[in-house]
């Protein structure tokens, strides 16, 4: 009986979180504590929910699975202002093994190069040689390397398993920085 109140509180907490996730949890501009409710232009601006509720759902960040939204053609953002040329897509994964005790990181070029041109990352954020960048989790949490985007605009760093996505036992003969097709 002694644990009961704690159990009730825990359940309440979980239910609150679940409800928040299920509802998308987007604030209206009027209530987001950012926009000035007395600004008459708020009537013109779009509430996030109007657009985001129509996209494939997710459980973090904007609560939208942006990779699926793009791959299914539900959204088709422009690649350039000059002419609407298709940009280059690279379809390989880079394996990062220095992750103990967590699963390996398999960095996928395809979804990244679908969302942005190579120059967004190369050669400023990452040298384009596998294993040549001294990445570690501390620097990422500090907003460097992957942490430039993840935690700011792309899905947040609390989603460990999306990056630490490859069980070491499923990769045989892996060498640091090895690339996978």
């Amino acid at each position: 009986m002694r644990q009961k109140p704690a159990l009730v509180l825990l359940t309440t907490l979980l239910l609150t979180l679940a409800a928040g996730i299920a509802a998308g949890n987007w604030k209206t501009l009027r209530n987001d504590q950012l926009h000035d409710p007395s600004n008459p232009s708020l009537r013109v601006l779009q509430d996030p929910e109007e657009a985001l509720a129509l996209l494939p759902p997710d459980t973090a960040g904007n609560m939208v699975n942006w990779v699926t939204a793009l791959q299914r053609g539900i959204i088709s953002p422009r690649s350039s202002l000059r002419e609407d040329r298709e940009h280059e897509i690279l379809d390989d994964d880079v394996l990062m093994l220095d992750t103990m005790p967590l699963p390996y990181v398999r960095f996928p070029h395809r979804p990244h190069s679908e969302w942005m041109g190579c120059e967004t990352c190369h050669e400023k954020l990452f040298v384009s040689v596998a294993g040549a960048n001294a990445i570690n989790m501390g620097k990422i949490l500090d907003g460097q390397y992957c942490g430039v985007c993840h935690g700011a605009v792309a899905f947040p760093l609390t989603e460990c398993n999306r990056c630490h996505n490859t069980d070491s036992s499923t990769v045989s003969g892996a060498r640091p920085g090895g690339t996978l097709p």
Partner: protein, 127 residues
């Protein structure tokens, strides 16, 4: 459980809910207020979610040369009016023109320049 212990638990629970209740803005909203308020206009709110539905990241961060570090671009209103940064699109053709001050300068007084973590984090280095 004693009433005071329960009070403490409820306190801890409420503290746990604070980030949920006080989450500001939408994830990745950028506040720009290096000069706006000091010069008599409301802070600027730039919504990433709205723009990424329409443009890939590299349009702004490579083609238009906007650095991926909030506050590191010295965006001034006169350069925007002259077609740089926001002004590259907000020219009355690709998007509505810079005459619509309120649509960009839409923030509450006192907001600090930065990026909003919305549901999860406060941005890089803040989690």
């Amino acid at each position: 459980m004693s009433p005071s212990a329960r009070g403490r638990r409820i306190g801890i629970l409420c503290a746990g809910l604070l980030p949920v209740a006080f989450a500001w803005g939408e994830y990745a909203d950028v506040i720009l207020n290096s000069r706006s308020e000091a010069e008599g206009v409301a802070p600027v709110i730039f919504p990433h979610w709205f723009h990424r539905i329409r443009f890939r990241c590299s349009v702004c961060h490579v083609e238009l040369g906007i650095e991926m570090r909030v506050g590191s671009n010295s965006m001034r209103m006169d350069s925007i009016t002259n077609g740089e940064y926001c002004g590259a699109c907000h020219d009355g053709q690709t998007a509505w023109s810079v005459d619509n001050c309120d649509l960009c300068h839409s923030g509450r007084p006192g907001l600090a320049t930065g990026i909003q973590g919305g549901h999860q984090t406060g941005g890089p280095g803040k989690y």
